[in-house]
């Protein structure tokens, strides 16, 4: 059974379509990324999974049930980290984690809080009020609050915004560990390098789902440019742009040179994920 099922899900705020007929599913144990520009509908989609927003069309199911009708059932196994830190800033990280943990009343709560403080590298500041923290530190507290009850489904709305690169890598290692342990993670992000850590990606633009695939398959949708230099000339003799996937394009282009001694340099340029996503968004907007 899929953990999350969206069937032609739609949400309209007045005259604005925040989501238009989005259909996708999340499997247990996968890290699913949501990519898209501001206003694409990522946060709206996440809020619908939490049962905080009622769809205006289509259907959503989490753990096989409706997240609004069976909110208590869904929220027992749901961890949610909103885009804003949403913390009690006059309280310490320990107090914040404890408060959100108490809603679920898990066994050994204090031990669990210790683990999370160690993981988020906040042990030294565990009793300081959150308002004295940097943006990145607040994000870490917020993440710890979302994970305190060891949820089966974790919804993370831009979890690494403002977090330094080293800790960001640690976050992603932890996400991978959670997924290996069976948790399902839905992560919205603007960071293209982070998107590559996901098992699958959905690209949203103006509320519409443009693509949903593995990062590898999405990368293959990009163009490949092959430059070949012959002799000592600095000017490249051939530039080939192809829509073909790179592993197939490369031998075909190189066949005409026979790779003789005159070929002194070969460069292969491939579209980055960012370029591919931007092109998709542009062509959708042009259409």
């Amino acid at each position: 059974m899929n953990i999350v099922e969206l069937d032609r899900l739609a949400k309209r705020y007045g005259r604005i379509d925040a989501l238009r007929s989005v259909t996708l599913s999340l499997e247990a144990g996968e890290i699913f990324g949501l990519l898209g520009p501001n206003g694409a509908g990522k946060t709206t989609l996440i809020r619908m999974l939490t049962g905080s927003s009622r769809p205006t069309g289509g259907a959503v199911s989490v753990f096989g049930v409706d997240p609004i009708r069976d909110a208590a059932r869904v929220r027992r196994d749901l961890g949610y980290m909103p885009q804003a830190p949403a913390l009690y800033e006059d309280l310490s990280p320990r107090d914040n984690i404890r408060f959100f943990g108490r809603a679920h009343n898990p066994p050994n709560l204090e031990k669990r809080i210790d683990e999370l403080l160690d993981f988020s590298k906040l042990r030294a500041r565990e009793r300081d009020p959150v308002y004295t923290f940097s943006g990145g530190m607040k994000q870490r507290v917020s993440l710890a609050c979302a994970l305190v009850h060891q949820p089966r489904l974790v919804l993370l709305d831009e979890p690494t915004a403002g977090v330094d690169p080293r800790l960001r890598a640690e976050f992603w290692n932890h996400f991978r560990e959670l997924a290996r342990a069976g948790a399902t993670l839905l992560v919205s992000t603007h960071q293209m390098d982070e998107a590559l850590y996901c098992d699958r990606l959905a690209i949203l633009c103006d509320g519409e789902l443009l693509a949903c695939d593995t990062p590898k398959n999405l990368l293959q949708r990009g163009r490949t440019r092959i430059h070949v230099w012959r002799g000592s000339s600095n000017a490249n003799e051939s530039i080939t742009e192809t829509e073909e996937i790179y592993s197939q394009a490369l031998p075909r282009v190189l066949q005409q040179y026979g790779l003789d001694a005159s070929v002194t340099r070969i460069e292969v340029e491939r579209d980055y994920l960012e370029q591919i996503v931007l092109k998709m968004i542009q062509s959708r907007r042009d259409a």
Binding site: R47, T50, G51, S52, S53, R54, I68, A72, R75, R76, L78, Y80, P82, A84, A86, L87, Y88, E89, D90, L91, D95, F99, F100, R102, A103, H104, N105, P129, C145
Partner: protein
């Protein structure tokens, strides 16, 4: 129930940590009462009957303070998105409202005690102990109702700015329509009806009876029941109007 207590504990911890807030919250009503005393002393012939005026005005100060605090604090939860996060974490509407009522009732209890003590000391009031305890209970009940009213009103505001118009809308009619300063009987019929919408009206009726007869709650149970019913209605309304979905 454990969720309600978790919220109450968290709110109390926040109040205790914010020393400035706590000090101002407790001192502001005392200062207001001191100013009223100083103003009344400046008249050679007071324009109100002091003995029937000071306790209800103390009740009004407690009502005003607890009402405003709760209205603003819950809106702050909404704007900081912690309210939405509480819901997603499994805290339900009853737990949230109940938690807030418990926590702010602790503060209201302390406030009521301080205000009544100051009234006693400044105005040299001398009522039997049973009357004093009855007065304390009524003002305390009014404080709890004011907390519920504050939460109810905050449910209609999306920002702290939006809650501001609700503050005079509830408190100013309260003082005019509660029989504390003016006799409601002399007002037009519609204003007399409107007076029933203010909790101070019911509280004042009981307070006036207690003061006049130096009595206890024994002869006032129907009015106390009315005040309780008012509180219950506001509590239900506050719980039902707390928005979880957009």
């Amino acid at each position: 129930m454990h969720r309600m207590l978790a919220i109450a504990r968290r709110v109390l911890r926040q109040i205790a940590r914010d020393r400035r807030f706590l000090t101002l919250t407790l001192l502001a009503p005392l200062l207001v009462i001191y100013i009223i005393k100083a103003a009344l002393d400046s008249f050679s012939v007071p324009f109100v009957n002091i003995s029937s005026f000071v306790v209800p005005i103390g009740a009004f100060v407690v009502h005003f303070d607890t009402y405003i605090l709760c209205a603003i604090v819950l809106v702050r939860e909404r704007t900081a998105q912690t309210l939405a996060r509480m819901f997603v974490n499994g805290y339900n509407r009853a737990a949230i409202i109940g938690g807030y009522v418990i926590a702010y009732t602790c503060l209201g209890t302390l406030q009521t005690f301080l205000v009544l003590t100051e009234l006693w000391l400044l105005f040299h009031l001398s009522y039997p102990v049973a009357t004093v305890l009855s007065l304390y209970l009524v003002i305390w009940l009014l404080a709890v109702i004011s907390i519920c009213l504050g939460i109810f009103v905050s449910n209609f505001a999306r920002s702290e700015g939006q809650v501001l118009p609700f503050i005079p809308a509830v408190t100013v009619p309260g003082i005019f329509l509660s029989d504390v300063i003016f006799s409601v009987d002399k007002f037009p019929r519609w204003m007399q009806w409107l007076s029933h919408a203010t909790p101070l009206y019911y509280a004042n009726k009981i307070i006036q009876n207690l003061i006049r007869e130096s009595g206890t709650l024994d002869g006032n149970w129907p009015r106390v029941a009315l005040l309780l019913a008012y509180g219950l209605v506001v509590l239900v309304l506050a719980t039902q109007t707390l928005r979880e979905l957009d």
